[in-house]
């Protein structure tokens, strides 16, 4: 029986050598860009039921990105919790999965921002009249997916308009997904819910007329492509290619094709500053 | 091979237990082949017989730990375990069986002490939990009983810390603590040395004098001779011969009994 030695980590990270490509040597040599995605976020990325392959806005964008970089794109399906570890351990080269760029997260990874997302309040159509001004949410039960950035934003909203303003606090009902939040609206356990605008638009197509957006959008946070912290070669290459996509119109075509004009933004490295 | 059962010898006193044509099968094995027997109130009956002849099984049927195939076993004016409805014998509801069992005590061949309780706890379990005696007076009586069988120093020992003979005595004390009307002993002296056999004999004679009815399965002929009012010899699931110790042990009428007893050392 041979002994398996596990060599301990000693800090050595990417040693990028110079080459013709903008990409780090390893990626350029293999000719494949491995992209981590968690297909739980329609319409950004989700599984097509018939083909069982990942489709969505992010997929279209990253494929265009790959063409610009001159590499093949290989999408690696992973759970949401695993995505960032995979960048860390080199299991994937980048992650593109509707992740919001926040100052907190920038401490561990770099973001190339590419999509201006915004959260929306929505409720059953019959209840829409009850929510006309920000304070109407106070004291109500609000369902929100705990995996999204909106969970945190709603808490800030609460501080600003409700609990912080001397009114009764919003009752948060964290759910596993946006779908689960809607189920609570339906049963009347939650009065109002928050979800990404792109997400809402997608479901409007499915259950037309059942839900209605209310109040204004929550503060917009950009989605970013995740790159290993400090890997400036990679982030630089991605940013450059993204900008090229914007320039040649591919970017805008993809977003407007999905009905997301509001999300168009200028690509930038670590755009969020808080 | 088996000899037809003799009709029961009529007993001096009114019978407390009466078995009528009791048959019992284990699968295809016909273990009890028509037992007819009467035991008078206050009588001590010893059951002798070769290994596998069905002695333990018969005792267990009396206590309704085994169902029977056909026949009736009476305890007083009730059929044990069954209710006669016309010509049918239907098993009684559990509550009634429990009531009937309370009139009977039993010492098992393998003792079956409660391993998670000390000697004294084993003895008082029945009086306290079944008869509702106060824990205090049960402990007093239990201690007394255990002292009587020579275990005053082992009150707090668990069964596995006791030697074979000590366990057997705890089992006897446990059965006596219930103050039953009928006692069923399955080889109560198998693990005992001659001295203790003598002591248990004394205890049993006392009990007999106080009117307790006993059925005792034993292999010790000497013991049977001393304690029994009558002796029954079983073989092949039948009672071959029954009578006073003098009749059965000293001048057996049947060949089988004679052969069996001739081997006593």
């Amino acid at each position: 029986v041979g002994t398996v030695l596990l060599t301990s980590a000693c800090g050595g990270t990417s040693a990028s050598t110079s080459s013709d490509s903008d990409l780090p040597a390893a990626v350029a040599q293999s000719g494949t860009l491995r992209v981590g995605m968690s297909p739980d976020f329609p319409p950004m990325e989700y599984l097509d039921e018939k083909t069982q392959s990942i489709v969505g806005v992010d997929v279209k964008l990253v494929n265009a990105l790959g063409r610009k970089l001159g590499v093949k794109v290989k999408i690696v399906q992973q759970s949401f919790d695993q995505l960032l570890n995979s960048v860390q351990t080199g299991r994937v080269d980048i992650v593109m999965s509707g992740l919001s760029d926040t100052a907190e997260r920038q401490k561990t990874v770099d973001f190339v921002d590419y999509f201006a997302s915004e959260g929306r309040f929505y409720t059953l159509q019959s209840d829409a009249g009850k929510f006309t001004k920000p304070a109407d949410v106070c004291g109500k039960t609000l369902a929100v997916s705990k995996k999204t950035d909106y969970y945190e934003q709603v808490q800030k909203y609460d501080k600003q308009h409700c609990a912080g303003a001397g009114k009764s606090a919003v009752k948060l009902l964290p759910t596993d997904s946006g779908s689960a939040a809607r189920l609570q609206l339906e049963q009347g356990r939650a009065d109002v819910a928050v979800q990404g605008a792109e997400n809402l638009a997608y479901f409007e197509k499915q259950d037309a007329g059942k839900y209605e957006s209310v109040l204004g959008p929550l503060k917009s946070t950009p989605f970013g492509i995740v790159v290993k912290k400090g890997d400036s070669k990679m982030s630089g290459a991605i940013l450059k290619a993204m900008k090229a996509l914007v320039k040649d119109g591919t970017y805008k075509k993809i977003l407007t094709g999905g009905g997301m004009d509001y999300a168009v933004t200028t690509p930038v490295l670590n755009g969020t500053k808080d | 091979m088996t000899i037809p059962a003799s009709t029961p010898v009529s007993t001096p006193t009114a019978p407390l237990v009466r078995a009528e044509g009791v048959h019992k099968y284990f699968g295809d094995l016909h273990v009890l082949q028509g037992i007819d027997l009467e035991v008078g109130a206050g009588e001590v009956l010893c059951l002798l017989g070769p290994s596998g002849s069905g002695k333990s099984t018969f005792l267990r049927c009396i206590n309704h730990l085994e169902t029977i195939h056909s026949g009736r076993i009476w305890l007083g004016d009730e059929i044990i375990g069954y209710q006669q409805q016309g010509t049918r014998l239907v098993e009684r509801p559990e509550r009634e069986i429990v009531r009937q069992r309370r009139a009977m005590g039993m010492v098992f061949q393998r003792f079956n002490l409660f391993p998670h309780r000390t000697a004294l706890e084993n003895v008082i379990e029945g009086p306290v939990r079944v008869k509702g005696m106060s824990a205090r007076s049960a402990r007093e009586r239990g201690t007394e009983l255990l002292e009587r069988v020579g275990l005053g120093g082992k009150l707090d020992a668990y069964p596995r810390q006791l030697s074979g003979g000590q366990q057997q005595r705890v089992a006897i004390a446990r059965a006596l603590a219930m103050e039953p009307t009928l006692m069923l002993f399955d080889e109560p002296t198998s693990a005992l040395d001659p001295e203790l056999v003598g002591e248990v004999l004394t205890v049993m004679k006392d009990l007999a004098d106080s009117g307790l009815t006993m059925i005792v399965v034993t292999h010790e002929i000497g013991f049977a001779r001393e304690v029994a009012d009558r002796v029954a010899f079983m073989d092949g699931g039948q009672i071959v011969e029954i009578g006073t110790p003098a009749e059965v042990i000293d001048s057996p009428r049947h060949e089988r009994t004679r052969a069996f007893l001739s081997r006593v050392l």
Binding site: L5, L6, T7, S8, A9, D40, P42, Y46, L47, E49, Q52, V76, Q77, Q78, S79, Q82, N85, T89, G90, R91, S177, S179, L183, F203, Q206 | A14, P15, L16, R18, E20, G21, Y25, D28, H30, D36, E38, G40, G42, T67, H69, S70, G71, R72, W74, L75, G76, D77, E78, Y82, T87, L89, V90, E91, A103, E179, P180, T181, L182, S210, G211
Partner: protein, 308 residues
């Protein structure tokens, strides 16, 4: 030691003994029919409520045949089998180590159980999958070297994580089983010249199995469901497949019900296996073995034996 004659002596005027021909009959239970009817009524009410609920049974029917869910089920079952085999092997080993008199051996076993029972399996899965964070390279010097991320595929990470975690739980079950076997059995085995090891696998473990099988059945069925955590490391088992579908179409309850039906099917198969295992290891126990359905069928069709 008085013997109060609470019981009256047999009355002499009883009818003459005709008992020889009197067969006994088992107890009758008129309450059972009433109970059965009540149970059926309650069941009917529940079924009716669900049928009328806001659940689209057409969707359930549709997805019941969906290939991707069945493929997911296959992965679930495969992972369950691999993880349970690993878990049982480790569990028996660790249980025996735990009962060892050697303090180093029993200490290591204790520590293993403490750590792996003590930490969430979700974390353990992520740890194995991301082992590269700690050990970037796995190597047998001079023979084999590989990047840890290449070795730790999702399936390997999931099987290792679930199996090693299961081992800790199984070892406790096995330990309880071993403790349930009478010490006299060990002594009897020693007395016929068996060593510790042979005693364990020829005498103690076969008897312990009677006590071990039902909790292990629990653990196996639990594992069937726990494999869904493997989705954290990218194994596409049935629940993840269902989630992917309901993220898209919102049919949460319907898809979960489809999963439940598949799980139930798998559990039923496992339960049958458990039933036969229990029968096998229950041989020689004083309780009569329940008849197998097959035997029951034969008995119902064939002639009745004369004895009971």
């Amino acid at each position: 030691m008085s013997a109060k004659s609470a019981v009256k002596p047999v009355s002499r005027s009883d009818p003459p003994s005709t008992a020889e021909e009197m067969l006994t009959e088992p107890r009758r239970h008129p309450g059972r029919l009433v109970g059965a009817v009540a149970v059926l009524l309650v069941a009917a009410f529940i079924v009716d409520s669900f049928a009328g609920a806001q659940i689209d049974w057409g969707v359930v029917r549709h997805y019941l045949g969906a290939g991707f869910l069945i493929r997911g089920l296959g992965m679930t079952v495969l992972l369950t089998v691999v993880a349970m085999v690993l878990g049982i092997v480790l569990g028996v080993l660790v249980a025996v180590m735990r009962l060892s008199k050697n303090p180093v051996t029993s200490g290591v076993a204790w520590f293993y159980v403490w750590v792996f029972r003590g930490t969430p399996v979700y974390l353990q899965l992520l740890m194995w999958f991301n082992l590269a964070l700690v050990f970037p390279v796995i190597s047998v010097p001079g023979v084999y070297t590989a990047r840890t991320v290449d070795v730790m595929t999702p399936f390997v990470a999931a099987a290792l994580g679930l199996g090693i975690n299961q081992g800790a739980y199984t070892s406790e079950v096995v330990r309880a089983g071993i403790l349930s076997v009478d010490e006299g059995q060990t002594e009897a085995a020693y007395a016929i010249g068996m060593g510790r090891l042979k005693t364990m696998y020829r005498v103690v473990l076969p008897q312990a199995m009677r006590v071990i099988v039902p909790p292990i059945g629990n653990e196996t069925i639990g594992m069937l469901k726990t494999t869904s955590l493997a989705s954290a490391v990218g194994v596409t088992e049935i629940l993840l497949e269902a989630q992917h579908a309901y993220y898209v179409n919102n049919r949460i309850m319907e898809l979960l019900i489809v999963c439940a039906i598949w799980y139930l099917a798998a559990v039923s198969v496992l339960s049958v296996g458990q039933y036969y295992l229990e029968r096998y290891f229950g041989r020689g126990s004083s309780r009569p073995l329940p008849r197998t359905p097959f035997q029951q069928f034969r008995a119902a069709v064939g002639r009745r034996s004369v004895s009971r």
